[in-house]
Symmetry: C4
Subunit: 252 residues, 4 copies
């Protein structure tokens, strides 16, 4: 079989589209944000990526119907704006390093063909401690984008993230250079202990300004309250777990 | 070498065949069920799959003769029924995620060529506790199949299995969609601690009604009694082990 | 690069050759035996296999000269006998299951081209306890070979080895079937705790009768005495370690 | 995507170039040495290797700009010398054994095309204890090179390194034989506990004599002092950690 099978339901004709990616990761911030964006913008699914780099697994819904784990592509047509939007979210990232490279490269090939020139990847920045008001940290492919992002409140902090960015949110930026993409990674601060709707909301608040879209956060806020209730109970009963931090950087 | 080497002893001409798969897994329920079906229906082996995705291992029989580990295909011709049957069982599932994808894809290519349109995969559903009367849970590719299975006593229970179905029994359903297969996974409840002939019998009782075949369960019942004797002794001497459950689902 | 690079120093023209393999494994029995055979028969190296399935490693000799880890092929021409001999030994087996399959398949392709029809693989059979007089257990591809081997004192014992044969010594037999090879695996009993020249000698004593070659065992006996001295000291000072046995067989 | 993507900024025309490699490894000795050489000789970057054998990671600099992890090639033109120089350093070695083989093979293909016939690989030799004056051990592809290196103070010590050389510094020598390269590995002694500029300096002092280049060591000495301060504090507060040594050699 092909390493990655792409099944198109539709090949959309899009106007100068920008690309937004959010897959599972630290605090699930990127996935939560991308899924919320899909819901709020009523994005239309137009392609599914299946791959042997994902777990050999099907998921079962409440009616007993299965679906193979995948990464999915959605589009949003915006007649009154200068850019349509393509969004990717999904069940998993690639299980192996080479699988991650292959999946990001395939994604870039697909969005290149759709005319994408600008990429926003969404993720979490794990702090290893609970946090009240998460900031949104950034990284980008060129200095002009850094300046542009600062105007939207994105924080560029020397030495953060010290270990770089691992996974699709990093690779799409890194490999994107080979496809002439200009790209930004937006990282919402999160403890990393729990699924974190608060970090997702922080990221989306920035992104909504960048994309000039309106987003209702009621649902994310409700989820955040649920998580808050659980964590406050845990804090009462036992001390916070010690985070496992791996600094991949080298002192050169 | 080829990733998967298929050695055909015979290329059978089959009448609208249905496919049944049972490979090693939780409680070995699927493999036990498929092997018992092969025995009872006097199924004829017609192909062997060898693969570098299996362990590098030969098995040795009581006469000192070796055979390379494999997955094997059998057929049952049924002159008086509307469907012949193809059965797969074997020594192992693929060792790696990508190996599992490749093996399931290859299997689908083979059975597609044989004319299969309907797939039944057999497996165990691990409960992490001993169980007296195992139910048979189901998952399927479409709502019509769900309704059809309910009539045969298959249980579709919201949130079960919460973590989806991992391995060949899941992948054949998930990838089968790309081959226009309509498919059902039948999962016999099992503790997951032991090889479980009781779970296998539960699955086969349902499957025999679906396929309209007669099966004698004396041998499985004898095996189940043996296991029961062992487990009851263990229960007397020490407390039940704590199961290791991994929930792969995401709170999205 | 190619997965396996074969560098021929010479392409020997051989008379109905038989093949003998001995690579690192339990007690290093197979490797010790094959190396001793190479020494005693003054076998000539004619090919080296390098592979990305081996560790990324060079070895350094006492003069500071490196060589890349490899598997090596030797030949023995015997003007007065009906069969020439090809011997394989080397530094490592493949690191991964698929690497092991690829290496065994490549080896079979090479020896097939040399005209080999009969294969003897040498290995250790780990008992997990110290043993005074190791037996040689056997496994073969057909009943005639089993009978032939019994005449040479090879033991075929029901249920041994229960978990089959893992690695090159098994795969060459299993995959050899696809190349019309008739094959035997000879396993010298060994504790598995130490490099075991005694197990190697037991295997070679049988093999020398099968191949009708004369072998001087003085060197192996000297090595065995060294090991015996070490182990007897260990036995005095502390209890024997508990072996780690993995039974890969399935109760079907 | 290709397993290894090579992006050339320039295809330099070089005069009988020699190749120097230093990548992350024991004590980071090789990488420190190669980077210092690049700085001191004002070497010009002309190619980047990206690969799915590296971690799926981008690094972020102090301005928030990302770059994909890579191995990089530099050249030094020397109008007054008989040999130009090509230097490789980078963020990582390949993550898997087969990745390491592929990366070394690709590197050899590139430098072969540039006309390289002589290779120097730089690494650390882990002693598992703190050391005041590190020696530089050597290994080479032929006896003439061993003699040549001895004149420059390189130590060839019987039985060191007993376990051979693992990684790019070994593979470039081992695979280099297939490309008619004559090669030397220079290993600076190091505890292996810390990033070790002292080991790097020892290696560079030898290499500068071999290549007849002038190198200022002020920066490495400053780094070494920093490390010395840290380690002397650690030595006061707690006993030295027990090193984990793995002897991959076989008693044959």
């Amino acid at each position: 079989m092909e390493d990655i099978v792409v099944v198109f339901k539709e090949k959309p004709n899009l106007k100068d589209p920008v690309f937004v990616e959010g897959l599972p990761g630290v605090g699930n911030v990127g996935k939560l944000a991308a899924e919320h964006l899909v819901d709020q913008l009523k994005a239309v699914k137009f392609a599914e990526l299946f791959s042997k780099f994902f777990p050999p697994q099907v998921l079962v819904n409440d009616s007993g119907i299965i679906r193979l784990v995948s990464n999915d592509l959605y589009y949003v047509k915006r007649p009154d704006a200068s850019h349509d939007i393509v969004i990717m979210t999904g069940d998993y990232q690639g299980l192996t390093p080479d699988g991650q490279y292959e999946l990001s490269d395939k994604t870039l090939k697909i969005i290149k063909e759709l005319g994408v020139k600008r990429v926003y990847t969404l993720g979490g920045y794990g702090l290893g401690k609970l946090i009240e008001k998460p900031r949104v940290l950034g990284a980008a492919t060129d200095p002009e984008l850094v300046e542009e992002m600062k105007k939207h409140g994105v924080v560029f902090s020397k030495g953060e993230p010290g270990s770089g960015i691992v996974g699709a949110s990093g690779l799409l930026l890194g490999l994107g250079g080979l496809y002439d993409m200009r790209s930004v990674c937006l990282m919402g601060e999160t403890s990393g202990y729990f699924v974190d709707p608060k970090g997702a909301q922080a990221v989306l608040e920035v992104l909504s300004k960048i994309l000039d879209v309106k987003i209702n956060f009621a649902e994310l806020e409700a989820k955040a309250e649920q998580i808050d209730m659980i964590t406050s109970k845990l804090r009462e009963s036992e001390p916070a777990p010690e985070p496992k931090r791996e600094d991949l950087g080298y002192i050169g």
